[in-house]
Symmetry: D2
Subunit: 350 residues, 4 copies
């Protein structure tokens, strides 16, 4: 049985495990004050072109979103997100649990459009009763989005312009950042992305690490007491070395980008397999997540051999299925998927 | 330079790293639904003698305390803790951040006494305005305490009796549980401890794991939707295998207890070293944390050679210093400490 | 200048002021333990046909919603509401501030349909990742709704059936309850309404009181420590007599229903005026709030003479205007409105 | 039966009721945008000597404390208060419910000393682990305190100096502000008090109003979106006129100060009565609350005739009893109290 259900089905990239082993008995301070964290921060600052950045390592995505959002918003401010945004759907209300509302606006293939954002804000401030409503304080976008799509540089610039016009912060959830930047369709670099927002995070969990997300405040603009906020949110790892060493490994010689690229290449191969076998894309994603429409017959072929995730259903009855690749996806796994799909084609022959 | 500053200065027990390596490429589901978590749960249920226990793996102690406490308390209930209790002091207000007050009562060497608890509750309910006050909902104790001390079986039974009398839950923070159970002074087993409380957790981070705490509801009494609460608190690890595999390793053949015992043995050796060198104990701790009083001369001897943590100061000017041992503490480290202390004795000779 | 902007433009019904005066120097206990509160509770229990009801008097609607919802929901549960529901729109995120998400579903003229609710819940529980999402815990409806519409008895029964099927609480926000029950279209009594939900509140602020909302748990089913929760939410009035006396006055001889009826009658007169003057209804509301579409010309006629509230705009450019009546609305005010509208008709004549 | 249990046993000062009556049918906007609020603000700005002050009217003390504190503190900051401070004891954890810890320091007769505050802060910042603790963000004091005592101008200046040194806000809870300023021992004016803090509130509920507290940001320094925060905390009254008119009445010709003075005079008379009748003061309070020690015999004399509040018990068994006066306390009530006490003296004679 092979699994394409998500990009965290395996453990960590072998180089990470090797270094964990190698450094295991070194005695270092806790809570991120170790040399691995320090080195990782320098590597990230360099890769992101922001030498003054404040950087913090947290453990997982939901806790990162809740910590960043609640630390940066004022008391009665909310975060604007696409109605498919992860914070509003699959994080069990973690943001609301910190007291802040997620304000949703419509999306296209997971993306917010600057014009929709601007329209929302115009209506909001035109409403005489807007002082009785949650105040917009931040725009949250994911890059890539929950549907694997990515923003162009121009689109991000436009969103950034609206944010500045309305004094909103721009936060980019980069749980799968590597896969976005490594996409063949991506027209912006990590440095450019860092320059376009107020805060973003670099996902480790879904890009080769056992766990870990690196929060970057590009202009050294971490909110006051952010370290304490991380602790308060239960997001401070005692053995911070585990996070530091992983990000140090991922960012010291471009490993993060190489493994992201390899996952995107695998996804492109998947796309070819789907095309060759008459399987329709639900969304044309340029990153490591592929969304296709599967009919019952195809599902039966895969049953017991290939795992994937079901995201919903379209009116004609087909399911929306997600296939995710990662640094660990092998050619042979993709071959096996294609072989399964072809058994269907053959069995149709007389 | 050797460090006794805490029990999380090193990485993980080598057997854990070995198994991480061994299982790295296995594809398993996320969020704790993997086979390692399942096996770890069975091993813990067996070790704790509670076959019906609900068990959840979280990442760190502060997040575990906040998640457990806020999930089990009613809206206007608080948790009673010793005024030295970790939740009230060093967790950056994580419990209050979830909306619940920590109600403090006096302690002796880090321990709550049943009589003090009972007195507090009697006064509370005798107060005509008690409906205007935070309602007691739970008693939180740490085992061992922040001062390395442990409760006797009798003391826990007495506290449990007061809890039942006042319909309070009893929660045992076992961040260092192994060191308590492995103490030569401990007169209760894990099974007995599990039988005496409503919920407890088994600390991994400080007892040989890279991270991880196992929350145990011994009677299958997890609050409704607890899995979702864990997610909501940002405490659900995507690659749950990391936690499952560690606890499976620690609990499948008694490793947890063996390494705890070895740390306690090292602490007893430390105690002997202190005694032989005229260093006074601040508290007589039977576990892996030792608290001693160091004068300026002694501190100068250790300076640059031995690290420890400063916890405060007594009126005569000496500092309260904590020395912690762990599974990784070596005999040679203790020898080196003694050698440093002896240089002082020698230098006094004419 | 006359105002129809809302139903709280005036002070209190004169009988309330008279009794405030009359009882002013009586010395009574604070925090709702006075004889007026007691008498008011008895009168409400009797009017609502629930002799065992727990009743609490709070000051305003938003605080009542937040207190009731957060006290009754479990930690990771949310309240389902129409996407026009007051709690999700005009309460500044007060519910989210208590940590709970408002889960919105589509509405028709402000009302939730049982089938839409049921469909939402079916989809929710069919979603494999539903444990990662906010759990439905309660259905919140307003009676009358924010658009002045009311549920039929049958509709409420159907919603109640879905609630029971999915173990959800049903909470009715009755900020304008009187106007709903007094509507000519209303086919259910206060007793029937009380029997159909788990908790509701009787609005005073918008129905003749200076302030005050009476929360009713019809089956004596107030959550544990609810009094303390009220205090914790800052919703406990020190001089509870102010609330008790007002509700006692409103409910001791049917005043609440009489003044509600008089407001609804005034609204019906308004409707006639609009019809006679060619002003289109936006929604056909059977209660004290009337929503009409005003073009620029009509708005110019009213300008400087009649105040109303603007709720939005339809595509043809006309504004949606709300006209609210209350116990204090006079015939002469309505006459004056009509006179203004007629000046327009006259000015059009050649 | 006469009652001295609290200063909110009666309704409102008659002048307030008179004006409520007089203005009842005026149509004014809701939510504090009415002319009474505007006039009240001007009167308060003038009385407090701060022409640029931002002023908001809230309903009650607990909600005011929670709203002000949570709106002004950063995410992981707490409020320092005396361990007898109202926010830490009798507000049902309302501050913690907003996510902020109350940090307590010892007090003397309800008052914080600048030296104790300074010592606390020195220790806090000297602690190596202070980044893991709740950060001090504000000092909360009550004037008068919960024990009726008041700070001298010098004491407030000293506290203010420590606050500035450590960048802490200073918040004065003036639930009984009038009684403090009217005290014969008070050496500072409202203007001076306003100049010494960042925010304070003027209590109405306990000083002649039916309800209402006026929050004053003396330098126009209200936090961003404070109006929305008030709404979010459920503290925004729809019929804001009720609050505006009351404060307008209290502050337009010095009524607030006159009735406060009259209550303090009554308290001084009470003190004389206690002295003449051999009843020991527990605390020598210069304001409207008097704390005395009552033995069983005295309590028996008062039983059934005079009500007071019990605050605790001293070791010799006597209870600490609070007697509060207000604008409504009559000479005859005090005479009656003395008459009761004398029956005891007489009955002792042979």
């Amino acid at each position: 049985m092979i699994s394409f259900t998500c990009d965290y089905n395996e453990g960590a990239h072998p180089e990470i495990l090797r270094r964990l082993q190698e450094t295991n008995l070194m005695q270092v301070p806790g809570y991120g004050e170790d040399e691995f964290c320090e080195s990782a921060k320098q590597n990230i600052r360099s890769a992101a072109g922001c030498p003054d950045a404040d950087i913090f390592f947290l453990v997982g995505g939901t806790q990162t979103n809740a910590t960043v959002i609640s630390s940066m918003l004022g008391g009665c401010e909310g975060a604007i997100a696409a109605d498919t945004g992860h914070i509003g759907v699959h994080e069990a209300g973690a943001v609301e649990f910190t007291g802040h509302k997620v304000l949703t606006i419509p999306q296209k293939e997971g993306k917010i459009e600057a014009s929709a954002l601007s329209g929302y804000l115009q209506s909001f401030y035109a409403d005489e009763s807007c002082a009785h409503m949650v105040q917009p304080g931040m725009v949250y976008i994911s890059f890539p989005t929950e549907y694997g799509t990515i923003y162009t540089k121009r689109e991000l610039e436009d969103i950034g312009r609206v944010c500045r016009q309305y004094s909103l912060l721009l936060f980019i959830d980069g749980a799968r950042l590597g896969y976005g930047l490594a996409s063949r369709s991506c027209d912006l670099s990590l440095k450019e992305l860092a320059g376009l927002c107020d805060v973003f995070y670099i996902g480790g969990t879904k890009v080769g690490a056992l766990c870990g997300e690196a929060v970057v405040f590009p202009k050294g603009n971490a909110p006051k007491h952010f370290f304490t906020s991380v602790k308060q949110h239960g997001a401070l790892l005692a053995k911070g070395r585990l996070l530091g060493l992983q990000f140090d490994t991922l960012f010291r010689d471009g490993l993060y980008f190489r493994i992201s690229r390899s996952a995107v290449d695998a996804a492109e191969r998947l796309k070819d397999v789907f095309a060759r076998n008459g399987i329709e894309l639900y969304i044309d994603s340029p990153t490591n997540q592929q969304f296709v429409l599967l009919d019952e017959k195809t599902r039966a072929l895969l049953d017991g051999h290939v795992l994937y995730e079901i995201w919903g259903r379209v009116p004609d009855g087909r399911v929306i299925a997600r296939f995710a690749t990662s640094w660990a996806t092998t050619d042979s796994a993709i071959d096996e998927l294609e072989a399964r799909l072809r058994t269907g084609a053959q069995s149709c022959r007389p």
